[in-house]
C-alpha cells in the first residue's frame, strides 16, 4: 500500500516532465517515420522498377540496419558536428528505411502480372500504372512496413537521449546511470505503451482509408462520416499532441531538446556523461551558476560517453561539462600518459585552447582514476594487494569492464601491455551494473572508479597500481572559450569549489545518489548549503 502511494507520488512529481518527454518521443518517432516514408517508398519503387538497382538498394539499406544504434548516433554526431534532435532523427530515419522500402518492393512485386498487363494494354503510362494500380494495390503491405518502422523507431528513439535529443530514453538513461529502477520504468513503460498506441493509430489509419465494399445501412453511414475520418486523422493527432507537448512554453521543465535549442546568450548549456559522478558535477556547476550569476542554465545531461560529450562541446551543442585530465589526454587527444598531475593539466589545457577553442578551469580536487578492484574477501584470503599480484592468477579470473574501458588506451589494452595481464574471460558491463555484478560473484575483477561510493558499500578492495600505469584523472570544468569570453565571471563562480572536493567527499556524494537513492540536485544543494555557497 505505502509502496503504491510512494510510486504514485514519484510519478506525480514527474508528470510535467513525463508529458514533455513523451512529446519529444512522439516527435522523434513521427518526424523520422514520415521522413522514412518519403524516402523509403520511392526507393522501393526504384528497386521494383530498375532491376540492377535492386541488390545495391536492398543491400545498402540492410547494412544501415546492422549498424549498432549507439555507433550510428556517434557517427552522425561526428559528421554533423551537433547533438540533439537532428542527428537522432536522421539515425531513426535510416533505421526505418528498411522495413518501408522492403515492403514497398514486396507489395509492388505481388501485384499480379495480369493486372499489370491490363494496365499497359488499355494505355496507361508507366507513371499512371504506378499511381492508379500498383501503389493502391500495394498499400496494405506498405502500411504493414510503416507500422514495423514506427514501432521500431519508438524503441530505438529511447537511445536518442544519449545525444541530448530528449525523449523517454532520458528517464531510462538517468535510471541506468543512477541504478534507479523506478526511473527506468518511468521511461520504459510509457515507451512500450507509446509503441502500442502508435501501432494502433496507423492500423486505424489503414482501416479509415480502406474503401468500403457494400452500400450503407444508417449505422454504416455514421461510421463512414465520423469514425473513418477520425481514424485517418489519428496518427496526425498524435504527432500534433507530441509537438504541442514539447513546444509548449508553459512547460516549467527546462532542457527540452526541441523547445529552447535556439542559442540564447543568457543561457549556459551544461552537459554531462551518463554516470552518477558526471550528473552530480553537472548539477554542481549548474547550481553554482544559477545562484551566483543572472544566467539561466539548460541541462543537457546523460550524453552517451566521452566522445559524444566532447563532440557536443566542440560543436557548440553545450557550453561546458566536467572532464578528466587523463581521459582528455588519452581518449580525446590520443597522447601518451603523463604521470605528473600538474603537467597533465597543463598539456590538456594548452591543447584544448589550440585545437578546440575550449579551456580547462580549476580542478575540483579529486582524482577519479580507474582502479582495478576485487572483492575484499578475495584480497585478504589470497593475499592480493597490487595489480602485479594478479598476474599469476589472472587466467582463472573473470573480468567485467565497461565498453569504454575495454577500448581505451588507458584501459584494458594499456594494462595488458603494462602488466602483461591476461584475464580468463572479459565481459562487457554497464558501469552502473558492474558493482552489483562483482558483489554477487558474476565477475571477479572490475575497473572501478576510485571515487565511487559503492567500493566501500559493496566491500570491495581496489588494488594498488604498483607500476603507475593509470594517469591522473583530475576532474575540472571544460568550457568553450567563446562562452568564457562572453561571461568571464564563470571562471570565478565555477572556481568557488575548486580544490575542495577531495576523493572522500566525491565518494560520499556518489554514494548518496547511488545507494541512498537521493537525487543529484538534492545532494548538491546540501553540499552547497554546508559550504555556505547558497
Amino acid at each position: 500500500m505505502t509502496a503504491t502511494v510512494e510510486w504514485l507520488s514519484f510519478v506525480a512529481e514527474r508528470l510535467p516532465e513525463l508529458w514533455l518527454r513523451t512529446g519529444e518521443h512522439l516527435m522523434l518517432t513521427g518526424v523520422s517515420t514520415i521522413a522514412a516514408i518519403l524516402v523509403g517508398i520511392p526507393l522501393g519503387v526504384a528497386a521494383a522498377r530498375v532491376r540492377w538497382l535492386r541488390s545495391p538498394l536492398t543491400g545498402g539499406v540492410g547494412i544501415l540496419q546492422t549498424i549498432p544504434s549507439l555507433a550510428m548516433l556517434a557517427i552522425l554526431l561526428a559528421l554533423l558536428q551537433r547533438i540533439g534532435a537532428v542527428p537522432a532523427i536522421i539515425a531513426l530515419t535510416l533505421y526505418a528505411l528498411l522495413p518501408i522500402m522492403r515492403n514497398t518492393l514486396a507489395g509492388l512485386e505481388a501485384v499480379s502480372p495480369e493486372v499489370v498487363e491490363a494496365a499497359r494494354g488499355i494505355g496507361m503510362s508507366t507513371r499512371q500504372r504506378l499511381w492508379l494500380v500498383e501503389l493502391p494495390l500495394s498499400i496494405p503491405v506498405i502500411i504493414a512496413g510503416i507500422r514495423t518502422a514506427a514501432v521500431l523507431s519508438v524503441g530505438v528513439a529511447t537511445l536518442s537521449a544519449f545525444i541530448g535529443a530528449g525523449g523517454l530514453g532520458e528517464f531510462i538513461n538517468r535510471g541506468l546511470a543512477l541504478s534507479n529502477t523506478e526511473l527506468i520504468l518511468l521511461g520504459a513503460v510509457p515507451a512500450a505503451l507509446l509503441a502500442l498506441t502508435v501501432d494502433g493509430s496507423i492500423a486505424a489509419f489503414q482501416w479509415g482509408i480502406r474503401r468500403r465494399r457494400s452500400r450503407g445501412t444508417p449505422f454504416r453511414g455514421m461510421v463512414d462520416r465520423i469514425a473513418r475520418p477520425l481514424a485517418v486523422a489519428s496518427p496526425l493527432v498524435l504527432l500534433v499532441a507530441g509537438g504541442f507537448a514539447c513546444l509548449s512554453t508553459s512547460n516549467p521543465f527546462s532542457g527540452s531538446a526541441w523547445a529552447s535549442s535556439a542559442t540564447d546568450a543568457q543561457t549556459i548549456r551544461i552537459g554531462s556523461k551518463n554516470f552518477t559522478e558526471q550528473l552530480i558535477l553537472g548539477e554542481l556547476m549548474g547550481q553554482l551558476i544559477e545562484t551566483h550569476t543572472d544566467l539561466s542554465v539548460e541541462r543537457r545531461f546523460n550524453l552517451g560517453g566521452t566522445m559524444i560529450s566532447h563532440g557536443a562541446l566542440v560543436s557548440g551543442g553545450i557550453d561546458l561539462y566536467a572532464e578528466y585530465t587523463g581521459t582528455a589526454l588519452t581518449a580525446v587527444l590520443e597522447r601518451s600518459v603523463i604521470p605528473d598531475p600538474a603537467r597533465a593539466y597543463e598539456v590538456v589545457d594548452r591543447e584544448y585552447r589550440q585545437r578546440f577553442s575550449a579551456q580547462w578551469l580549476q580542478p575540483f580536487g579529486f582524482n577519479n582514476t580507474y582502479t582495478i578492484t576485487i572483492r575484499r574477501f578475495d584480497a585478504t584470503s589470497r593475499g592480493l594487494r597490487t595489480i602485479s599480484d594478479l598476474i599469476p592468477v589472472a587466467a582463472s579470473l573473470r573480468a567485467g569492464f565497461s565498453a569504454e574501458f575495454s577500448e581505451r588506451p588507458d584501459g584494458y589494452p594499456g594494462i595488458r601491455s603494462a602488466y602483461g595481464l591476461r584475464f580468463g574471460e572479459v565481459r562487457d558491463l554497464d558501469p552502473a551494473l558492474m558493482y552489483q555484478a562483482i558483489a554477487s560473484g558474476e565477475v571477479d575483477v572490475i575497473a572501478a572508479f576510485a571515487t565511487d561510493g559503492r567500493i566501500e558499500a559493496f566491500d570491495l578492495q581496489p588494488l594498488e597500481d604498483d607500476r603507475r600505469f593509470f594517469p591522473p584523472y583530475q576532474a575540472a570544468p571544460v568550457i568553450r572559450t567563446e562562452t568564457l569570453q562572453a561571461h568571464p565571471e564563470l571562471a570565478q563562480v565555477l572556481g568557488l569549489l575548486a580544490g575542495v572536493i577531495d576523493d572522500a567527499t566525491m565518494q560520499r556524494l556518489n554514494y548518496a545518489v547511488d545507494e541512498d537513492k537521493r537525487s543529484p540536485a538534492e545532494v548538491v544543494q546540501e553540499l552547497l548549503e554546508r559550504r555556505g555557497l547558497l
Binding site: E114, E117, A118, G121, I122, L132, R213, S214
Partner: protein
C-alpha cells in the same frame, strides 16, 4: 483496316518463332477470329497489334499508318482490349474500371460517369446495382461483361478480344457469345477475336484465320474454310469435332 505485312515475332532469337511471316488484312466492320491451339501464336499476334509486343520483323498498319511510328500509349487508348482471364483492376469499382480509359483521356468526371453507366446497361448490368461494387463481388460472367464495357468506353473503332470467354462455364459463354453478336450488329466495330474453341470461332467469326505453330494456315469465311480447307492441318482441325458432334447426335 488493320494490315499485317510479313510479321514475325520471336522470343528466343529466331530458333522458334512465335509468329512466323504472317500477312493478313482485317477489314472494316468485320469480326476476324484468330483460331489456333495454345502455342499457335494467336495471342502474340493480338499483342503485336497494340504494341504490347514489338514484331521482330514486318510491319503492322492501322488505317494505313505504320503503328511503329505511333506513340504506343496513345495507340492502346484508341483500341479496345478485352483480356484473357479477368484483367479488371481490383482496387477500382466497376464504374471506375469502365471509365478508366476516358479518365486517361482526360474526360470530365460527369461525362465519364454517364458513359460508364450507359455501357453497363449496354452489356446488361444494371448500374444502380453494380456500379459501386468491386470486381471480386461479381460472378465471372459479370466480370467479363465489365471487361467488354471497359474496352468500349472510349468508343474505339477496333476491339481486340483475347479469349475473353475462355474461363467461363459453357452456359454463360453461350449467353455472352449471343450478346456479343447482338452488340456487334448495334455498334459496327471491327473485332479481332482470339479463341481455341472451334464452335466459338464458327459462331462469331465473319472470317476465320487458322494459325498453327506461328504460321497462318488459312484465312477465309466459314464456308470457304469448311469446304475447301487449304492444308491437312485445317481439314483435321474441323473434322474431329464434326465426328464428335455426329456421335453426340446419334446418342440423342
Amino acid at each position: 483496316m488493320i494490315s499485317l505485312k510479313h510479321v514475325s515475332k520471336s522470343f528466343d532469337g529466331g530458333t522458334h518463332p512465335a509468329v512466323d511471316d504472317v500477312s493478313l488484312d482485317i477489314r472494316e466492320g468485320e469480326t476476324l477470329v484468330l483460331l489456333g491451339s495454345s502455342g499457335s501464336g494467336k495471342t502474340t499476334l493480338l499483342k503485336l497489334t497494340n504494341r504490347l509486343l514489338e514484331p521482330t520483323s514486318g510491319t503492322i498498319e492501322v488505317d494505313g499508318e505504320d503503328i511503329a511510328t505511333k506513340d504506343p500509349i496513345l495507340l492502346r487508348r484508341s483500341i479496345g482490349y478485352v483480356f484473357q482471364g479477368i484483367g479488371l483492376f481490383p482496387n477500382m469499382t466497376v464504374e471506375e474500371n469502365v471509365a478508366i480509359v476516358p479518365r486517361l483521356l482526360g474526360w470530365a468526371s460527369e461525362k465519364r460517369r454517364a458513359r460508364a453507366r450507359d455501357l453497363l446497361r449496354l452489356v446488361g448490368l444494371e448500374p444502380a446495382a453494380h456500379a459501386d461494387r468491386f470486381p471480386d463481388e461479381l460472378s465471372g460472367g459479370q466480370q467479363q461483361r465489365v471487361g467488354v464495357a471497359r474496352a468500349l468506353a472510349a468508343d474505339p473503332d477496333y476491339l481486340l478480344m483475347d479469349e475473353p470467354f475462355g474461363a467461363l462455364d459453357a452456359l454463360t459463354r453461350d449467353i455472352l457469345q449471343q450478346e456479343l453478336l447482338a452488340l456487334r450488329e448495334q455498334l459496327k466495330k471491327t473485332i479481332v477475336f482470339v479463341t481455341h474453341d472451334i464452335f466459338e470461332a464458327l459462331t462469331l467469326g465473319d472470317r476465320l484465320a487458322v494459325l498453327h505453330a506461328g504460321r497462318l494456315e488459312q484465312i477465309g469465311t466459314r464456308e470457304e474454310i469448311l469446304r475447301t480447307p487449304a492444308t491437312d492441318f485445317v481439314r483435321e482441325l474441323f473434322a474431329k469435332p464434326a465426328q464428335q458432334l455426329a456421335a453426340y447426335g446419334e446418342l440423342l
